[in-house]
Assembly symmetry: C2
Homo-oligomer: 347 residues x 2
């Protein structure tokens, strides 16, 4: 067993605190990596505080993991010690269902195994995530990360990056399309960068006038203040696609109204509460409300390679591990531009 | 002006009663038709009782109209006196927006003009619908109805027929697809017939065990009792497409759970209330909740021709005009197989 140091929540109401645990010895298909950076995702907060229900404690959060390979199992072919690698939102899946066979392990019909807040596939123990100095992961679930990207700025690509890249690709966002991004946080700022890079006309929706300039710097051609009834009314019926990155309750109908006929609004933020939808909103104009959940391993690798090639990464604020509870408070106040990343050397 | 007899609601709380009014003299592009039959749609009840808000009184309902051409304007080319014709849910639109130009007048960007419960395009008066002995309609909004179809059984095709045909076509229901139909009423029974005719594997969801045999007769290969948790659990993740025809409040999440990855559930029933949707339901499996509203004129004509060719029409119970209030009560109790059609000779 590999003695590991990290930070854990012991219950829904206790702050994160230092925690020691063990990882399995690397098997023949495993990669053992030393974690250098881990991003702080809003879903880490939802899960440590049990806002989605069913949380498993102790919980070491973190699924935006960048590290360096320390050792590999005898059968590992893709990685060698010293390689820069990443681990995202899941570390296993059934590997036999049709979705897994298509490389869409994110939609595994037998449920993927989350990087943390999950039981090991054999049910014998819990998985612990990236707020720690090491992790052992099967090579299928490990990604190559180019040295061209700053490792701290690469970490959020493993969740915020793929979560926005995948639906923008799936719904064919590109030249000639008018695309909205709701919310300018960890997910939203990546969506602006990708949608701009794909050649779409990009509009950012925000409630904060002080974010306008930054939204434009990040790739928005226009910014709409969603609090302005006048601006919202002017935009009615004009969007091909809207990506909704907000994970706090908000009025979906107000945005569905902005779609063209046959337009799609896709949810990637998951508020703990249900949303109220009137059938009329979808029926008028044959509109679609969809969802999307991170991405499969092949597409995650494609996204990382695309980022290296096009110079895309996250805007991050690097913090020491000990500041994590303060960082959570600031995430909830949207006081971060645009993702906290823990420098694991500080652990 | 053309003196016309019909039945109207004078307010949201009064029953329908005999009403005399006038239609415009037919202009050069108009078709003047004598109505022989008119279907009774659930939305007639929603609108006469102002359950969607904004109802205009007096209201002569009816948008599943079958008639015979009495006279045509000088410029009319498609129709001659004596032709069997139909009029559906709308009698005008802007005719200039991109949706109208594509023959999707149902999604007119400047709002189509409903067959009833609407103002005339010039704002000068109200439009009165098919619970009456005559109507005058621009030829663009009049459809040819083959003599091969019984006229009473043809009437519901103008709303229930196209409302189900259009989304089944749009989402490419056909061989190799597993398709669900929620609700076995006016819309649902047509959806079963079409989906079966298109070659899909068809499953009917109903709350009524006594409807099972009839659902199979109408085209269902399987029937699932939606009240059975066990049957619903067994069907999880297995549907390509589900058409939801129910216009009473119900749990959408329970059905979205039955979709495969990338599956679509399409709403065509419009409950007056909003529905509660949890983002997780759509995010897990990249699912889509959509809406669809009747169909454009070219597709409505295509549907009518398809029905004539394939021997498809509605199962109807023909009633005299004077029984309309009783019929409304029975619709609300789902006590009709599967559509009331008024025999206008009884007016």
């Amino acid at each position: 067993m590999i003695p590991t140091k990290g930070y854990a929540a012991q219950s829904a109401t206790t702050p994160l605190a230092p925690f020691s645990f063990e990882h399995r010895e690397p098997g023949s298909h495993d990669v053992h990596l030393e974690i250098t950076h881990c991003g702080v995702c809003h879903s880490d907060i939802h899960q440590t505080r049990d806002e989605w229900g069913g949380s498993l404690y102790p919980m070491v959060p973190g699924h935006e993991i960048i590290g360096v390979v320390k050792q590999v199992g005898a059968s590992v072919t893709k990685f060698s010690p010293g390689d820069r690698v990443g681990v995202g939102c899941f570390v296993d899946s059934c590997r036999t269902c049709s979705n897994c066979n298509e490389g869409l392990e994110n939609y595994c019909e037998n449920q993927f195994t989350g990087t943390y807040n999950s039981k090991t596939r054999d049910g014998s123990g819990l998985n612990f995530g990236g707020y720690s100095n090491q992790i052992v992961v099967d090579e299928r679930f490990v990604l190559k990360v180019s040295d061209k990207i700053d490792p701290a700025a690469a970490a959020p690509l493993l969740c915020a990056g793929i979560t926005t890249y995948s639906p923008l690709r799936h719904w064919k966002v590109g030249p000639g399309k008018k695309v909205g991004v709701i919310g300018l946080g960890g997910l939203g700022h990546m969506a602006l960068k990708f949608a701009h890079s794909f050649g779409a006309h990009v509009v950012c929706f925000t409630t904060s006038p002080e974010k306008v300039a930054d939204a434009k710097r990040l790739g928005a051609h226009e910014v709409i203040l969603s609090s302005s009834e006048e601006e919202m009314a002017k935009a009615a019926g004009s969007f091909d696609f809207i990506l909704d990155t907000v994970s706090a309750p908000h009025d979906l109908g107000a945005y569905i109204n902005l779609l063209k006929r046959d337009g799609t609004m896709c949810l990637v933020g998951v508020p703990p509460e249900t949303a109220a939808i009137h059938a009329f909103a979808l029926v008028m104009g044959r509109k679609r409300l969809a969802g999307s959940l991170v991405g499969g391993l092949p597409e995650t690798q494609e996204m990382l390679d695309y980022c290296a090639e096009h110079g895309i990464s996250s805007d991050v604020e690097v913090i020491p591990m000990a500041k994590i509870n303060e960082a959570y408070d600031r995430v909830l106040k949207s006081d971060v531009k645009y993702r906290f990343v823990i420098d694991m050397a500080t652990l």
